[in-house]
Symmetry: D2
Subunit: 137 residues, 4 copies
């Protein structure tokens, strides 16, 4: 199945005051946090929370991140973070994101993050089958 056809997983959240900056909009680094919130939701919803992965000696460390900021969000704006697997092969999984204003549908940020699977000693390892399943691939 080509990655284009994988369904988006949608996670709603609201902008916190703490996440805004003196320009009156969300400070850009916080979108990486929103993306992490969405990744956490995927695995939790699918029955294999990231917490359990870590307990099983499986860590997904971020090795690459790209963000494109298209429009700003402000305090208390309702957002939806859409996430899906972009690719998953061997030791590496990549996610794609679209962050939109939940009411207007306006596209605010797009991006992708790439993660390397490592064991408890931070040595690269193949992504276990149960993680592949938890990620819905």
């Amino acid at each position: 199945m080509p990655s284009e056809e994988r369904p988006w997983f949608d996670v709603p959240l609201r902008v916190r005051y703490a996440e805004t900056d003196a320009q009156g909009v969300v400070y850009h680094a916080n979108y990486l946090v929103y993306m992490e919130v969405a990744r956490s939701s995927i695995t939790r919803e699918r029955g294999f929370p990231y917490q359990a992965m870590e307990a099983a000696g499986i860590n997904l460390v971020v090795v690459d991140a790209r963000l494109r900021f298209r429009a700003p969000a402000g305090y208390d704006d309702p957002l939806v973070v859409r996430v899906r697997i972009r690719s998953l092969r061997g030791k590496v999984v990549a996610f794609a994101y679209r962050i939109e204003h939940a009411e207007t549908g306006r596209l605010l940020v797009t991006g992708e993050t790439t993660h390397l699977c490592v064991d408890g000693s931070f040595r690269p390892r193949a992504i276990p089958d149960e993680v592949v399943r938890a990620l819905g691939c």
Copy 2:
């Protein structure tokens, strides 16, 4: 009505990975953020979101905060932030908080914050009646 009898307003949230620290638990300053999330929810739910207050030239600036950390929370823990008005008089409103683990009910953090009402030029002003009503007093 004595403040003891004001009802708690409960706001659920989940600990984000970004909010943990190298001790493996929520970094203590983030509890102030959780408290702000709860305050935002009160006014939004009651039809006078803080965003609208600011647009109307009403700002509630934090002048005092006290926190007591009783037990740690970890990544992805479901929390409930309980907030209620502790006192409201003239230009000053104080909130009390209890942050609990949503499943075990364990009490994690208690605290209170005090806020001064100021206008768009940061001059103290009486808390307007519509804010008093929005805060449920």
Copy 3:
């Protein structure tokens, strides 16, 4: 020696854009971070960095924090965080803080934090002598 006479330890820092909020000033929770930066500097300067304490199974967990916000700081403002031991007895150490604008000397925030000494398993323990010395008591 009464705590009043303990000398302040001064740590300079500058407000980051990420630390401001939509009110155009430092978001209040960040002052707890500034206080932690100052505590880190004390022990590092005195030859027993907190990192080494943790490696030796000594953790100082925050159990109480009080902050009084007196005046706002803005982006890029040069600050000085003044910290000193307020009390140290048994398993508990308390620090006092004064955060000032470095150029005008204006007092912005005062506060104190109280810390419980715990071992690697989070069991309370007496503060070891070498920590007492590192803290300059």
Copy 4:
């Protein structure tokens, strides 16, 4: 002058406890904050602080960011954030970064950010000459 030849501008900083996460290392989003600290230092050092730019109706909003995480940093690690202009043309300026461990020289993170110049109403505008000069081009 090709961008390869523009000199790096080096900004030292130390990892704060607040910036670590439960993996015991710097939470990845914080590297965007470190990069912003470095950009702030460039313009401040060159006599046209970003604060003054904003006062003059000049804002540089982040439109794109790319990060490659090569090795982790831990609490209290001394880092150096190296930044230089990658390109500057019309309304757009791009910066490149190398974040290294200050003592070992180990390369931790590389990245780049692209910024659009906008006026006080967030309309794109050419980067003024005084900003070009402040950025050392």
